[in-house]
């Protein structure tokens, strides 16, 4: 299931918890993904950020109380996952590690334990300006449904991320995302849809719908699969009809996916000897890295 967090409407942690628990238990889902900036939304709606005038000021206010807010946010979601009995990707939050601050997500098991965290590895211009750091690792997580990987925020637009996760065995890529309203409506197609098509895994894409810090968002929640698996070849197992849709869910048919890969085995036609001539040496050298 992919949730936009357009529902529930809430202005306290209790309302959030109750509303989301109701949504999570509605569809008999095993894996639920919440959108990016869920922690920011949670903190703002619960009145923990004051009255931010912009997204950036909400972000800055969160950052100041990050050490307190993030554990609280995660606590709510570990309890949610346990109560709903689902694997839960709680969207994204900020975390401090030494002098660095990361935009991160996590996978929480149905027992309420955090299976692991994933830091965003590529940053937008705004995120770089805000002083965030890049994660240095891409992990996969075994679940009874298959191996999951987390594609956090802007990472969906960097094909290296999904390729690394895919080659490490990811069956389901979970993407907490957010697309500002000012972007082209075609922008979303450049993210998880294309990554699913070139890596042939499932994609659960949650796009933030509510306004945060006065900023509006436009993405739609979707469950992706290789085009060959969908009747109209669109690659969408489910797609919310508009950004207001609270959630979409779909059954992930692993047998059908294996068949699709067998008939069109994209990874079998990769050409690593050719890549080795150029990568990673062609990437900018360490001295030229943008920080």
């Amino acid at each position: 299931m992919a949730c936009s967090l357009n529902e529930p409407a809430f202005c306290s942690a209790n309302e959030y918890y109750a509303g989301l628990l109701s949504l999570l238990t509605r569809g008999e889902c095993e894996l639920v993904v919440l959108p990016a900036h869920s922690a920011l939304l949670f903190a703002e709606r619960c009145g923990l950020l004051g009255s931010p005038e912009s997204f950036f000021s909400a972000f800055s206010a969160y950052l100041k109380c990050c050490a307190e807010l993030t554990p609280r946010f995660l606590e709510v979601h570990t309890e949610l996952a346990r109560s709903a009995g689902v694997f839960l990707v709680p969207g994204t939050f900020l975390e401090i590690d030494g002098a660095n601050c990361y935009h991160s997500s996590a996978l929480i098991g149905p027992n309420g334990e955090i299976c692991g965290r994933q830091r965003q590895t590529h940053l937008s211009r705004e995120e770089r300006a805000a002083g965030l750091s890049r994660g240095a690792e891409l992990r996969t997580f075994s679940t009874p449904s298959g191996t999951a990987g987390l594609v956090v925020g802007s990472d969906a637009w960097y094909p290296e991320v999904s390729r690394i996760l895919g080659l490490q065995g990811t069956d389901i890529a979970c993407h907490p995302g957010s697309i500002p309203e000012s972007f082209s409506p075609h922008y979303q197609l450049c993210g998880m849809w294309k990554e699913v098509q070139q890596n042939q895994f499932f994609g659960i894409e949650s796009q933030l719908s509510p306004t945060v810090g006065g900023e509006n968002f436009q993405g739609r929640c979707a469950i992706h699969a290789p085009c060959e698996m969908t009747e109209d070849k669109s690659g969408y197992l489910a797609l919310s009809s508009n950004k207001e849709g609270p959630a979409v869910s779909a059954f992930l048919d692993f047998q059908a996916r294996r068949k699709a890969i067998r008939e069109y085995p994209l990874y079998a036609f990769l050409n690593p000897p050719a890549y080795r001539r150029y990568l990673p040496s062609l990437y900018p050298s360490a001295g030229k890295e943008k920080e």
Partner: protein, 375 residues
Amino acid sequence: MEMGWKEKAFQRYLLWKARPKKLERHLNKKKASPAGSKVSPEKKGRVRGAAVQLKLKLHHDPLGFAEEMRVLVEEAADRGAQLVVFPEYNGLQLLGMLPGVMELTSRAEQGGGGKNAPAGPAQGHSVLDVFRFAAPFIERTTLSIFSSLASRCGLYIMAGSLVCLDNGSVVNRAFLFDPAGAPIGFQDKVHLFPTEQEWGFRRGSRFDVFPTAIGTLAMPVCMDATYFETFRILSLMGARIALVPIANAEPYNEHLALRGIWPRVQESLIFGIKSALVGRLLEFEFTGRAGLFAPLELTPRGDGVLAETNQHSETELVLADLYLEALEELRRGHPVMGDMNPPLYRRYFPRVYESAPLPAHHPPGNAGKPEDRSG
């Protein structure tokens, strides 16, 4: 299969029939279009590109093929193009010079083909045999025609990709000519389509870019655009316009068609020109829409499309202007793209590729001729 004396003699006859002097004489007989001649390159960073969508029509006479190409190049020149891009497998039209191919094609079109049609144009010969036999005259004829047309119209021409022989192996190779008609370079297809792998084609092992007066060009071929690595490498090497010839043998579907050049242009922030072979040859029905693509921000509707043909099965030419300076500006200031994480890449590349499955079929035609794996 080793060629006998009859095949060798016939091959010599075909080469004679399609001799460059004869083709050049034919093309020079036609009056050059004044509007299209010697278009000046690069006006304030603007390049007008033309993408050809070409319906496959067999020719039993190379002059017919030359004429078909001339009409398209001159139309592009008349409309102000500085660069014309032809599709994958251009030159297959010349298979019509082989005895029996026309008849086989007609039979396939009348319903005698489909899945029961022979796998190749001649019974008893593999597809690879036929391509090995035909490649020399296809290559010489096609290149001769496009060299003449490039100099005649003063244009850059990507001749499409052709079936070529290289040290005994069959490769799918794209060629580029400058406005003087001189060859600039070529690019072998690096990612084969499963059918090509089964036929025994040899895949390319390197990527190249071609600096020109209209920007740095690259020529990934069809399936190469399915893999982000292609465009990432080429854009890091400096390519700003990728010319992608395609020949998709599948019923047209807009979502399937969207999986190639369009996403690659968005993630690498360069321009892309897609040329498409359409129509039928034996059991293969080719479909596709030629077009010119740009990052979303540089397209009028914000959809990444500058121009695209209106249909997917007939010959059509589309043109659009590519603004290189605007592209550079976007690359410098894109709100999301443009970040890099070299420590992450060094951590996983190329090691992570070791887990990729090996190709399902070892190319039989390359037995004893392993590809260059030196890296």
